[in-house]
């Protein structure tokens, strides 16, 4: 955290000295508590208000694995982490500069995972230090001991005591008190905070609103009287209207904007919140969220609806994608348009249900037995999560294809503002090419050159054919001769080449002409990779990056781009063997998934740097990796 370095030393002691104003380009804040104490609400409101004031923000949730973990245990830490910037913020950053913690165990958890900057400011509920329970006091003292190994600045706060002056049950009030403290420290607009509280608690009574506002005021006053510093992250003026949401909400809205009429799903983390959002609003748009009996049925219902001429979507995460595999093969074989969203999480098996990973790429691409060509796209930002749905639908229908959209838990739960989309009613139009079929029309009238054919939908006179998952000819007659399977396979495959022919080469971030190192990424890592590239370029390194959106077919011209750089490394959140690890050789090393894909399609010696920490990559760790690659001889 170069930018905020020096923060701590500049913080005035809690004496009567005039408050110090720190002006920084960015600051990262966490609010952590036991689950159920509302830290996330506090974080969300703080982030929304900051965005409204014109700051760039990126919010991530800190989620425990259980719904109700026992209180005061490090594994129970729950809350939000908000990176606030003077300009746009594209990723969650490196380490946290200021924490509000409702108990010392939650704080300890963040300390232990290395989330906190060495000089972080820690505002901690102090009631535990004087607890009647000696075990709690002992735990507090041990925690303070452990925390004292760093240069943290610890500020005890009597949250409980203060909240008790206003409410009977402070467990429900500390979050608003904390919000008030943050509002003072970061000089947030109180009017906007009140508006945001009204929005956040719109389903509750007016008394709830009043009580929350008084708690915020109390926190603000307390901070004003007891905290001797303020931190100024100057907002940038907003010249375009913005919306702020997480990636799953963006996908839900994108699905509505793109004219989807059905979202068939089965509950699975971290994909489900798309369905939560759509369940809330979809019926107002004439849409239906169908919660099927299982992942397989969800795919089947979506395929049935699509076959019947509707625009259908199914949404899942890795384990669900595995279950849907056979149905996806059927959609590909029958050339039934289908959009599948896979919000990736850690795997294999149940893996890390709530945590980010990018390890479904190859399963998404090659998971269906037999040759099953289909399209895969990966949005890189929350904004792209919205817009990708429109493109995905159009491609699915034009090419009669399965289009998989790969996002991940980082995009799903990350919250950031983006320009409010300008809607187009063309996006909503009924599926293309539903004109009546003639007597000579066939269900797979493949155009020899392109493999494209027109779709026939039940109800169209003259189109009474039976689509089948068996190998078939143009009339959908089951193929009993070898030539038919060869030809129909070629037709299905050619569609991908045709799609690739209309794609444009990706743009290099940095130096198009080439350089010492090219970092290749895909999906949610874009912000962190580009920030890392910026930092090392500022130090004079000849490093650029390339971020891919189309993963099947790959965008054209990639080989030529890769060849302009001395070294190429794919940076991903999936597992790869460390080249220096025992037994690992150049030959047996298992590389990251994008690296494998690029190596096979370009024959360029693409190196792999990947991590599976169960959290988004930090720009700082990518910087370190880049330096190693450029400065060292470079592992293969």
């Amino acid at each position: 955290m170069t930018i905020s370095a020096g923060t701590t030393s500049a913080v005035a002691p809690q004496t009567g000295a005039p408050p110090a104003h720190l002006r920084v380009r960015e600051h990262t804040i966490e609010i952590v508590s036991d689950s159920g104490e509302g830290a996330q609400k506090c974080g969300q409101i703080f982030a929304a208000v900051s965005a409204k004031m014109g700051n760039g923000i990126w919010t991530v949730e800190i989620i425990p694995a259980e719904v109700q973990p026992p209180p005061r245990v490090p594994e129970g830490a729950s809350g939000n982490r908000i990176r606030v910037g003077a300009g746009p913020v594209t990723n969650w950053g490196d380490q946290t500069d200021l924490v509000v913690a409702f108990n010392e165990q939650a704080l300890l958890a963040r300390h232990r995972v290395g989330a906190l900057a060495p000089d972080a400011i820690l505002l901690i509920e102090e009631m535990w230090a004087t607890s009647q329970d000696p075990a709690i006091v002992a735990a507090w003292e041990a925690a303070m001991e452990e925390l004292s190994t760093r240069e943290y600045r610890i500020i005890p706060v009597p949250m409980q005591e203060q909240c008790l002056t206003l409410v009977e049950n402070p467990r429900k009030g500390k979050n608003m008190f904390a919000l008030g403290m943050l509002a003072y420290i970061y000089d947030r607009d109180m009017e906007r905070i009140r508006d945001q509280i009204a929005t956040a608690f719109r389903k509750k009574s007016e008394a709830v609103y009043d009580s929350n506002v008084s708690l915020v005021n109390l926190g603000y006053q307390w901070a004003q009287e007891h905290i001797g510093f303020r931190i100024d992250v100057p907002p940038a003026p907003i010249d375009t209207p913005l919306v702020v949401m997480n990636g799953n909400e963006a996908i839900g809205m994108g699905a509505i904007a793109a004219g989807f009429e059905l979202c068939a799903m089965y509950p699975i983390t971290p994909a489900t919140s798309v369905s939560h959002y759509l369940s809330e609003v979809f019926e107002r748009f004439g849409g239906v969220v169908h919660q099927a009996e299982d992942e397989i049925a969800a795919a089947g219902v979506a395929i049935g609806a699509s076959y019947a001429g509707k625009v259908a979507l199914t949404i899942t995460s890795g384990p669900g994608l595995a279950l849907k595999t056979e149905f996806l093969g059927l959609a590909i074989m029958t050339e039934t348009p289908l959009v599948v969203v896979d919000v990736q999480r850690g795997g294999p098996s149940t893996g890390l249900p709530t945590k980010v990973e990018q390890s479904d790429l190859l399963a998404a691409l090659f998971g269906q037995p037999g040759d099953a060509p289909h399209v895969i796209v990966a949005p890189a930002t929350i904004e792209e999560c919205f817009h990708v749905m429109i493109t995905a639908r159009r491609i699915a229908e034009t090419f009669r294809a399965v289009v998989m959209v790969l996002t991940d838990a980082n995009l799903a739960t990350g919250v950031a503002p983006y320009p409010r989309p300008t809607l187009d009613s063309q996006w909503q139009a009924a599926p293309i090419d539903l004109a009546p079929v003639g007597d000579s029309d066939l269900p797979y009238a493949w155009e020899e050159e392109t493999g494209l054919s027109r779709r026939i939908v039940p109800g169209q006179p003259g189109g009474m054919f039976t689509l089948t998952g068996l190998s078939h000819d143009e009339r959908s007659k089951v193929a009993y001769s070898s030539g038919i399977h060869q030809h129909s396979s070629a037709m299905r495959s050619r569609k991908l080449a045709v799609l690739q022919s209309v794609l444009t080469p990706p743009v290099v971030y940095g130096d198009e002409e080439g350089g010492d190192l090219l970092v290749v990424g895909w999906g949610s890592t874009k912000g962190a990779i580009e920030e890392a590239v910026d930092r090392v370029r500022a130090d004079g390194l000849k490093v650029s990056s390339l971020h891919l959106r189309f993963l099947s077919p790959l965008e054209p011209g990639i080989k030529a781009i890769l060849q302009r750089f001395t070294k190429v490394v794919a940076v991903e959140i999936n597992y790869s063997d460390d080249p220096d690890a025992p037994y690992i050789t150049e030959e047996n090393r298992r590389r990251g998934q994008m690296a494998m894909l690029l190596r096979s399609s370009t024959l360029v010696d693409v190196d792999s740097w990947t991590r599976v920490p169960g959290e988004p990559l930090r720009p700082g760790s990518i910087v370190t990796a880049i330096r190693e690659r450029v400065l060292s001889g470079g592992a293969a």
Binding site: R394, T398, A429, G438, V502
Partner: protein
């Protein structure tokens, strides 16, 4: 009379079929005008259109110009067909632009109920013609000799089965004196939904004669039960009658027997004086017909739960019948 608050109640109850009809018209319009644009448009315009359709994610990633050439527009672009399609689009735009006027009509002085309904539905018939025409042209199968009359207003009696299934719902405002059930039965087909908003002196059970086993027929005063109309998958005729008229619901989903389908709320008395051309005898006959239909067979005892006779115990019906007949001065069996 169109300002009658009951019109809004009726339109509200018909929201679903109205929305279905409008969505169909607007959908057809989008496709037809898209087709026209595609044929008239230069490659550059087609490219910018494709760029719009592909959305922002595709900006800078998909060459919209090349994408647009992947699928040449369907059908023939011959000038005669395109000119006809242009007319079809105009018709659809006009129908689409008429908002709720399309779904409300009024029997004005000197007009007949049947003619009024016909005139209102003919407009919708024109939209059907336009939709078919657009599809034929898009499929390259338009034949001027066979299809040139498709854009003419089309009376309901000329509608085919499909058109009748998609008939738009209609709210008709009229005086009780203009309510002749004979004019209505012609329209009880497909999924036609007619809601009459009646004011002024009115026969007690004017819709009794509209009852056939497959038609949903209802008389209501306050609009209660109107919500059942939209969900019924067949023809429905409903009258929102003035206070004092009989209220009843004949729902074909109730069962095979008349008494299972028919439930009578309040049973009114036939007036002793004629209402314009409607005689006392006619009005009494309506009431009697209704009572007969609701008659529970003696062999079926009343029981709880499913299969309960619609209007309760047998003797009650008899009593009402006797009383009604007494009121009209007619002998039993006359």
């Amino acid at each position: 009379m169109l300002s009658d608050p009951r019109v809004a109640v009726a339109l509200d109850a018909l929201a679903q079929p109205i929305a279905e009809f409008r969505a169909a018209v607007e959908g057809a319009l989008t496709q037809a005008s898209g087709f026209l644009d595609a044929h008239h448009a230069s490659p550059a315009i087609r490219a910018s259109r494709a760029a719009f359709e592909l959305g922002e994610f595709a900006t800078g990633r998909i060459d919209a110009g090349r994408f647009a050439t992947l699928f040449p527009p369907l059908g023939s672009g011959d000038p005669a067909s395109l000119a006809m399609l242009d007319r079809a689009v105009q018709t659809l735009e006009a129908v689409n632009g008429e908002a709720s006027d399309l779904f409300v009509t009024e029997v004005t002085e000197g007009r007949k109920l049947g003619a009024t309904i016909d005139a209102a539905l003919a407009r919708a018939g024109q939209a059907f013609g336009a939709i078919v025409l657009a599809e034929l042209i898009r499929a390259g199968r338009y034949d001027a000799a066979t299809h040139d009359r498709l854009l003419d207003p089309a009376e309901f009696r000329t509608w085919n089965r499909a058109e009748r299934r998609f008939a738009p719902p209609l709210v008709i405002v009229l005086r009780g004196a203009d309510l002749h059930s004979g004019a209505l039965t012609d329209f009880a087909d497909g999924r036609a939904k007619l809601v009459l908003v009646v004011s002024g002196p009115c026969a007690p059970a004017p819709l009794a004669r509209c009852i056939t086993p497959g038609t949903f027929v209802m008389q209501t005063v306050d609009g209660a039960g109107l919500d059942q109309v939209a969900s019924f998958d067949g023809p429905a005729i409903v009258a929102m009658v003035p206070e004092g008229c009989t209220t009843f619901t004949h729902d074909p989903r109730g069962g095979a027997e008349g008494w299972q389908r028919l439930s009578i709320g309040t049973n009114a008395v036939a007036p002793k004086a004629p209402i314009d051309g409607i005689s006392v005898w006619q009005m009494a006959e309506d009431v009697r017909l209704l009572t007969d239909l609701a008659r529970t067979p003696f062999s079926v005892p009343a029981r709880d739960g499913t299969g309960t006779p619609a209007i309760g115990a047998e003797d009650a019906v008899d009593r009402v019948t006797q009383w009604l007949l007494g009121q009209t001065g007619l002998q039993d069996g006359a």
